[in-house]
Symmetry: C2
Subunit: 414 residues, 2 copies
Amino acid sequence: MSLKAEIIGIGTELLLGQIVNTNARDISERLSSLGIDVLYHTAVGDNPGRIDAVFRTALQRSDLIITTGGLGPTLDDLTKERVAEVLGLPLELRAAELETLQSRFTRRGIEMPPNNIKQAMFPSGSLVIPNHNGTAPGVIVELGRQSIVILPGPPREIRPMLEETVLPYLARKAGDSPAVIKSRVLKLCGIGESAAEEVIRDILLAQSNPTIAPLAGSEMTFRITAKAGNAAAAREMIDAMEAKVRARLGKYIYGTDSDTLEEVVGRLLREKNLTLGLAESCTGGLIASRITAIAGCSDYFLSGVVSYSNTAKVEVLRVPATIIADYGAVSSETAKAMAHGIRQVSGAAIGLSVTGIAGPGGATPTKPLGLVYFGLATPENLQAEAHQFSGDRTTVRTRAAHQALVLLWNYLQK
Amino acid sequence: MSLKAEIIGIGTELLLGQIVNTNARDISERLSSLGIDVLYHTAVGDNPGRIDAVFRTALQRSDLIITTGGLGPTLDDLTKERVAEVLGLPLELRAAELETLQSRFTRRGIEMPPNNIKQAMFPSGSLVIPNHNGTAPGVIVELGRQSIVILPGPPREIRPMLEETVLPYLARKAGDSPAVIKSRVLKLCGIGESAAEEVIRDILLAQSNPTIAPLAGSEMTFRITAKAGNAAAAREMIDAMEAKVRARLGKYIYGTDSDTLEEVVGRLLREKNLTLGLAESCTGGLIASRITAIAGCSDYFLSGVVSYSNTAKVEVLRVPATIIADYGAVSSETAKAMAHGIRQVSGAAIGLSVTGIAGPGGATPTKPLGLVYFGLATPENLQAEAHQFSGDRTTVRTRAAHQALVLLWNYLQK
């Protein structure tokens, strides 16, 4: 039987609408990948009576309760105190944790304020969840078949705590007894979500361990999660699943985990000792801003031109005025001339160009909204292709910028 | 006594971690501005028993219950059915609503699927909340001193429904009886949150109606909310409060409501019949991508150059090589030469340039990480200024791009 879980966010800032509860989403997504059913999310303020009431309700209905927030050093931070009170467990000072905490402050050359001592207090009999990115360790309290997992509030502290301690603990609790849980995200480009799922439908239906699941978000991604006796075994299981998926979708998989398309493209350019110049019209600098988001991009990125006016296309990019006059600024011919032009002007090995109709104005009977031409000038070739995007101005621009990187990645793959 | 409210998000996609519950945040922020205390957020899946249980708990503790989601046409969409069942109210078909719904489909040239009929069914005695952006109207059920407000899931449908119907209703319920509630957001740039709050601290402390509150987010904003007998009176109250704030912070207020800095700058450029050219180094196209996010920007934006390499600075922007050699690529002199260069190359009235050290590499003892120079070449003048930003590469780049727009806005104000 699968575990019934609920997630409780603690903090008045949630109820005032000052922050969004992304922790509930992140934790839910990871629990789902372990086959644990999350049945409720709750958020409650820094109020002892209401925290107690919410916690008592949770104890009546859930096997697993995960709280986030309320572990700071101030009087408003109540989570451990309320959980200990409701469960009738005394809070005790853990000398080892106090030492870890003090040495964090020492390393930063600050004396630890006395308030922080409470971050080394834990409910009697509980387990400590190390936190390498903040002063508040987490807590696991076991209560017969029930578990209470207490986490701090900041997402960047929670994520490694989940990965290193909480998920392996929960997998054991969910009935497996693996020593480790590892996961890997495969990132795809140039294919839509439903098309990608269709191609590996039988794999998605037959999964057990490792699991594989599409992830929500602006990109197409799959997360593979394996439970095993040790890290090497988990990695082998993930490798095997990845190989099965790559056999069908390999040409769309540009990277894994925290890879971004601009990073992978940059890595390939550097490896192949190639340089890049960009000529953007409707994407207006979006491609350049993604390429230059990568530290060290000056090794392969020389320059970009945002040629919004036809004059800029002609004077900066040296697109022949007759091409624009004969075929229009949004055309395969202009895209090619822009790519060729930026290759010459920048002195780069590769010139990449985009010209299209992002909307809302500018469409004609033969050139609809969302029509975008891409040009690629390489040492071997000068080519162009058209794509038709749907959506508003922002969506068309974003998708066109992504598609330009996909084209470049495809070229660099060869 | 203030109303006690809670918000219930209904939908299994929330519990699977497929979407973030931004509705709870948005609604909480708006209720806070009316002085209504939100005490709980809950999310529950598309499960009749659990929806009923969550709803019964809410009825025991809250004066106001707002639900989001579960109003679609499918069998999974259960909200109205469960609320009606728990309250013992029959669901009845409203002929007028059915007609509105059918005409929505007719306008789109589609026959209404029979499933959608349930979107015209309402608990007996309830009020309808019109939804101009989707097929699911909302519902208000009054139950003695308690109110239940039922809203659809999509944020873009919820926002106008709040503004037009729900907030005025709640303000009346909260003890006032204003016919209308209006709000206006003031948007600031060039000043930090705590500095801005400090300047109007006495106004913030003395507020009652209209209220004024800083809003969470990446920009500094204040929301003014007025309750009044009619729209004109509310607007007058907001105008008066805005005038008070402008008297102190006017030089930082670039716009209101949905205005963006790039939109306001664009409007000023068009009004003054001026054109713009951009030369970006460390911001790598971020400024151009913001400027070109605005439809019709081709009226005033001519071209941009992302001059990442020194060669591009020299060859495309015609920065004298000696300036880079003598002062470095990150210097006031290079920023000025880039601004001057892009003004010449693009033929624009105004040349704006950015060159800096976004990190993580590239810092020197005299030029630390986050040091950014901005150049502005106008028909009257050629000037540069330096700013020191903190944060990682992405943060420095984003802040530098924003600061460039602030400089341009300041110039256009004069």
